[in-house]
Amino acid sequence: MAQLFAPGADALYRLALMTGLACLVAVPVVAAGIVRSSYVTGVGIAPAQPVPFSHKHHAGELGIDCRYCHTGVERLATAGIPPTHTCMTCHSQIWTGSDMLKPVRESYDEKKPLRWVRLNRLPDYVYYNHSVHVTKGIGCSTCHGDVTSMQMTYRANAFEMQFCLDCHRAPEKYVREPDQVWNMTWTPPADQATRGPELVARNHIRGGARLTECGICHR
């Protein structure tokens, strides 16, 4: 009768054991990596839009205020995507024949809305309110990144719960003076450690214990 196990069987067995062990470690690591990768989160990826709108040009180079287009940001839960009419306030006067802007003109003529690919979205069970954040001193760039440097707009942060909690646990690290809220290149000033708590007190921002209660965002 032939040998049941060839001389290499032990080595194969050890290799299998090692591979199994390696997988135990590697699979979760790889999986965690994939979930956090921009492939899944979309961070840093600028999708094709119906119109190649450049925040860098409009908000950065021309210096148009965020609120010119995102009109709801100080009053409503949602900042709002501008209606075609807003684009046409300028583009009925300038670049009126531009090929790039053809979809905008068509939308306006045919009363058919533009369909922008959504970049920032939260799960259905999370409720976010723009107005309370900006009026209390949290700036746009804290979540959306420096859009004035984005030729094509992309998602700057993954908006996982950890991201929200970092700020809700310690708002004093992120809170700004009112005039800095719209500053896309804001970095914490040197005296943020003293200025932050002052702003928190002045704006009646409740502390981490309250702001991390589930009912603040989930309902």
Binding site: G72, R75, L76, A77, T78, G80, I81, P82, P83, T84, H85, T86, S107, Y108, K111, K112, P113, L114, R115, W116, V117, R118, R121, P123, D124, Y125, Y127, N129, S131, V132, T135, K136, N203, H204, R206, A209, R210, E213, C214, G215, I216, H218, R219
Partner: protein, 993 residues
């Protein structure tokens, strides 16, 4: 639970003092081993699951759940991949923000003032209009559910000709072919049939139409017509009149099968006035006592302090006795329950001459109404506590019987049915469908392609009130304006538009807004001035000062002599009643109303045959036995329901069911009581026979779901007696949570609720409002039978006292938001936990569905999503969902949140600008806002000035199951009862149940 119950034993148990004092069902009184097992199983559905898998099966399931657990994180394309802004942003529509329009909810044509909350251009929720002079901010179940009616997938969506899709243009062409012949004949042979309506614009349109076609006949049809009321006034005063009671001026109210508090056109306004008056009397240390006699229990008799069942045929005799006594006659001496009830009520009425109210309801006979008018006149109440006005409902139409007769003789060549469903509503004796078949041209316009639509040549979709221009009167005559809150979903037309089209023929008809403006513009009024006045009225929702003026009335003639005794004393009395959630069946396709437990039986999805305990005892009937009621050669069959408080030899049949429209939600539910309705006396039938068929069909009820075990669940405060509430100011038992009062009001409001059980009439408006606000799914009959009813707020109904004539109590039970909540101890993943404002939070995304919290909750208010109840909603139906509230997925627990989305909105609004605390009254929960009697107060209990704190200082305030030391934030104010000196009968006895 099966087999006829031992009624004699139940009766002995209740009267012998060893039964519970407050009880919910016959099964609970019998306290059988079977019933205990049912309760012990906690939730019937859970019991079935727990019994199913063995150890191996359990492990397999657990392994599979563990392995597949991550899959639940995988999202599905949900329509949010694109952002689609407007091309031109409408001026007032702000994305996601709520925008309210004042309008009217229609109930059989009568208006209640409402505010329609819309978001992103979609109407989502109905709130009461607090400025409306009639409804004063209250709503009813039909009004609350009307927003579902707008998105109802069963609505008629297209013009149909002979059952095939057609178009408005096609209908127009067909009509124009008819017009010359109509014009030539002056409209002879043309019949227009309308439903119940009060709209001045519709009335004017009808008048113009009749002027254009002088020989055209107008008929009106209603499942629950008010003709009896008007005919009664005609017999007493010589003309039809509406009667509006003024409870504020009254010291005693006697109801002879009255329906002030029952679902109906007057419910919202009347129950508000009744509860306000009762509150004011209580503040003076008095009880505004309500005496009620009724053949079958109603909400009005359930709320009565002295209620007695009497057969319908005896109501007129009672009224005659009252009249005799009021005019100085002798007090009858009968010593039966009705006699004892009569003596107390008669004494109270005579002592309160000029400050009493005697009232009869929609279902009363004309003679009863006439006698009640004479009685109120004799007592000096007319003009003092009772006001008479011109009827708001249109008068002068022919009846359905006359129409059927004309059709039968072939005198009708064209029938135009506008917003009515006579084929279903007509009493079976009229044989309406067969006679209608003889009419050459039949046109039907309605919200639904219903039975009449199916029998018509042309069916036309009507516009829903939430998408039309229009007007309607309230019961007091106030003209309310109806404005569209969304563009018509299906190109439906309104009644005034239809009438203008019929009148104008070839000329292009005006649209709804133009017709409305034409109606209300005074002759010679300046256009700009009118527009300003009209816009103000639109914003308010009604025309100020348009209530009908009080009419001076004088009794004519004398009371007619008593009719001879009922010809067939051996037969049973049958009374017909509109369904307490569906009314006459007009709203039968609305799933919210179908799944809304009937206030007294808690039955869902069908109607039952109410039989009295003594009849059940005599005939060996058990609840759920299918019985056959026969009279005049016709019959209906339905499941019996043993109803405490039902008159002994009376059987009650409910309208609104037995619909037969293919593919509609309502098809095949319940039985059609119209088949048995007589034509002369639409609400009452004598000499019927009842037989058991031998079949059984157990109605599905939520009655025993959420049975709580403990003491003092319902408390009753005798007026002038010792306070029954929890002692105020007693040291609070130890708690892990900081006492609310010590907290800075700004840092956190402390939310709490108080529910006044005396004001709660069990009307269910709160339950439907909660369903609309919080995206609560409808689960269907089978799921409810498994104990999976999903309502966050239930209204428990308790009986107290003897089986045959018990007192009735209602108790709404939402989540108590206990300060030391048992549910929070049980959750393995902290999916339910407290926040610093005292809210007991439920975090859906954390919940893994162990249901431990549900079994730990002593109040039984938690609901579990056993199946995916929301995933397959039709797209049009999804539009009703409130975007401010998560739509829950399968496998998570849910419960009342105190409308956390409204609290959040108020918190953000007050924090954003002024950094101020949330003012009292800024947060109104959905149930609180809907309540017609303002029974619910809600607010910051740490603020001594808040209305909720004032309510909780009432000595009637008590915590439900407070002895469990759960420290509930929701507390109750005990219902009121007559003081000890006011009860000449034997005092109720028995231990606490």
């Amino acid at each position: 639970m099966s087999g006829p119950p031992d009624i004699a034993a139940l009766r002995a148990r209740l009267s012998g003092g060893d039964g519970p004092r407050f009880w919910r069902s016959l099964d609970a009184v019998a306290d059988s081993a079977e019933f205990r097992a049912y309760l012990g199983a906690e939730f019937p559905a859970a019991a079935r699951l727990a019994a199913a898998p063995g150890r191996r099966g359990f492990l397999k399931l657990m392994a599979a759940s563990f392995a597949l657990g991550g899959l639940t994180a995988c999202g599905r394309e949900d329509g949010r991949a694109y952002e689609v802004p407007y091309v031109d942003q409408p001026e007032r529509i702000l994305p996601g923000a709520a925008l309210s329009y004042a309008s009217c909810a229609l109930f059989d044509g009568f208006a209640n003032g409402i505010l329609v909350t819309t978001r992103n251009g979609r109407p989502l929720k109905i709130e009461g209009n607090p400025d409306h002079p009639w409804s004063r901010g209250g709503t009813d179940v039909i009004g609350q559910a009307s927003v579902l009616g707008l998105y109802d997938p069963f609505r008629s969506q297209a013009v149909q000709h002979l059952g095939r899709p057609d178009s408005w243009a096609g209908f127009r062409a067909a009509m124009l072919a008819q017009v010359p012949a109509w014009r030539a004949g002056g409209g002879a042979g043309v019949a227009v049939l309308t439903g119940p309506m009060t709209s001045p614009t519709v009335a004017a349109g009808l008048a113009r139409l009749r002027a254009a076609y002088p020989d055209l006949r107008w008929y009106a049809s209603a499942g629950a017509s008010r003709d009896g009321l008007y005919e009664g006034a005609r017999r007493a005063y010589g003309r039809p009149l509406e009667t509006v009671p003024d409870f504020a001026a009254a010291r005693v109210v006697v109801s002879l099968d009255g329906d002030c508090l029952d679902l109906g056109p007057g419910q919202v306004g009347l129950s508000r006035r009744w509860s306000d008056a009762r509150r004011a009397a209580y503040a003076d240390g008095r009880l505004l006592a309500l005496h009620a006699a009724a053949p079958s229990p109603t909400l009005t008799s359930a709320k009565a302090d002295h209620a007695v069942p009497v057969p319908a045929a005896r109501l007129e005799a009672l009224a005659r006795d009252f009249l005799g006594f009021a005019e100085g006659g002798a007090m009858p001496t009968a010593d039966d329950p009705a006699g004892r009830w009569f003596r107390r009520a008669a004494q109270a009425l005579v002592e309160a001459r000029g400050a009493g109210i005697v009232t009869a309801g929609l279902t009363g006979s004309p003679e009863l109404h006439a006698l009640v008018h004479r009685l109120n006149g004799a007592l000096g109440n007319t003009g003092a506590t009772l006001r008479h006005t011109e009827p708001a409902a249109g008068q002068g139409a022919g009846t359905l019987a006359e129409l059927a007769e004309a059709m039968g003789r072939g005198a009708v060549t064209a029938l135009v049915v506008l917003g009515a469903n006579p084929v279903y509503e007509a009493p079976g004796a009229l044989d309406f469908a067969a006679r209608m078949a003889r009419v050459p041209l039949k046109v039907h316009a309605g919200l639904y392609y219903d039975e009449t639509g199916a029998h018509a040549d042309w069916h036309l979709p009507l516009a829903h009130p939430l998408e039309s221009w229009g007007d309607a009167r309230s019961l007091d005559g106030t003209v309310g304006l109806i404005q569209p809150t969304v563009a018509p979903l299906y190109n439906g037309r309104t009644l005034p538009e239809m009438l203008a089209f019929l009148e104008g023929g070839e000329t292009e008809a005006e649209d709804g807004l133009a017709l409305l403006k034409r109606q209300w513009r005074r002759d010679g009024e300046d256009a700009a001035a009118f527009d300003a006045r009209f816009d103000d009225a639109l914003r308010a929702g009604f025309l100020p000062g348009s209530a009908a003026p009080t009419q001076a009335v004088a009794l004519t003639g004398t009371a007619s002599p008593a009719a001879p005794a009922a010809p067939d004393p051996s037969g049973l009395d049958v009374v017909f009643r509109p369904d307490p959630t569906l009314w006459d069946g007009t709203h039968a396709d609305l799933a919210w109303l179908q799944e809304l437990p009937k206030p007294l039986t808690k039955v869902v999805w069908e109607n039952t045959v109410a039989v009295s305990p003594s009849l059940a005892e005599r005939m060996g009937i058990a609840t759920g036995d299918v019985v056959r009621i026969e009279a005049d050669g016709r019959h209906v069959e339905g499941p019996a329901w043993i109803t405490p408080g039902q008159a002994a030899e009376t059987v009650t049949l409910g309208l609104g069911y037995g619909r037969d429209v293919p593919d509609h939600l309502s098809r095949g539910l319940g039985y059609d009581a119209n088949a048995l309705r007589p034509t002369g006396t639409p609400w009452h039938l004598t000499g019927a026979r009842l037989t058991k068929t031998g079949a059984r069909r157990m109605p599905v009820t939520t009655q025993d779901l959420g049975t709580m075990q403990g003491a003092d669940i319902v408390r009753v405060q005798p007026v002038g007696g010792a306070p029954v509430g929890d002692p105020q100011g007693a040291p609070a038992p130890a708690s892990f949570y900081p006492p609310p009062a010590s907290q800075d009001r700004w840092v956190a409001a402390q939310w709490g609720m108080a529910i006044d059980l005396d004001a709660c009439t069990g009307c269910n408006a709160c339950v439907t409002a909660c369903q609309a606000e919080n995206n609560i799914p409808v689960v269907g009959r089978e799921e409810v039978a498994r104990g999976r009813w999903m309502g966050w707020l239930r209204v428990d109904r308790y009986y107290e006292g003897p089986l045959d004539a018990p007192a009735t109590h209602f108790q709404p039970v939402p989540c108590m938001h206990c300060e030391s909540a048992p549910c929070e101890l049980g959750c393995p993943v902290e999916a339910t936990l407290h926040d610093s404002e005292g809210l007991n939070l439920q975090v859906y995304n954390r919940c893994v569905g162990t249901r431990t919290c549900q079994s730990y909750c002593p109040y039984k208010v938690r609901r579990f999503n056993y199946l995916d109840y929301t995933g397959d909603l039709p797209p049009v139906r999804q539009q009703q969902n409130n975007p401010e509230v998560t739509v829950r997925a399968r496998g998570v627990m849910e419960k009342c949140t105190y409308c956390i989305q409204r609290i959040t909105a108020a918190r953000i609004a007050s924090a954003k600008d002024a950094h101020a605390p949330i003012p009292d009254g800024a947060v109104e929960t959905a149930c609180q806002g809907a309540c017609p009697t303002r029974a619910i107060s809600f607010g910051n209990v740490a603020d001594a000035g808040a209305r909720v704190s004032a309510a909780k200082r009432d000595p009637r305030n008590y915590a439900l199951l407070g002895h469990l030391n759960t420290r509930p934030r929701t507390t109750y104010l005990a219902g009121l009862a007559p003081g000890p000196d006011a009860a000449p009968g034997p005092a109720p006895s028995g231990r606490e149940g």
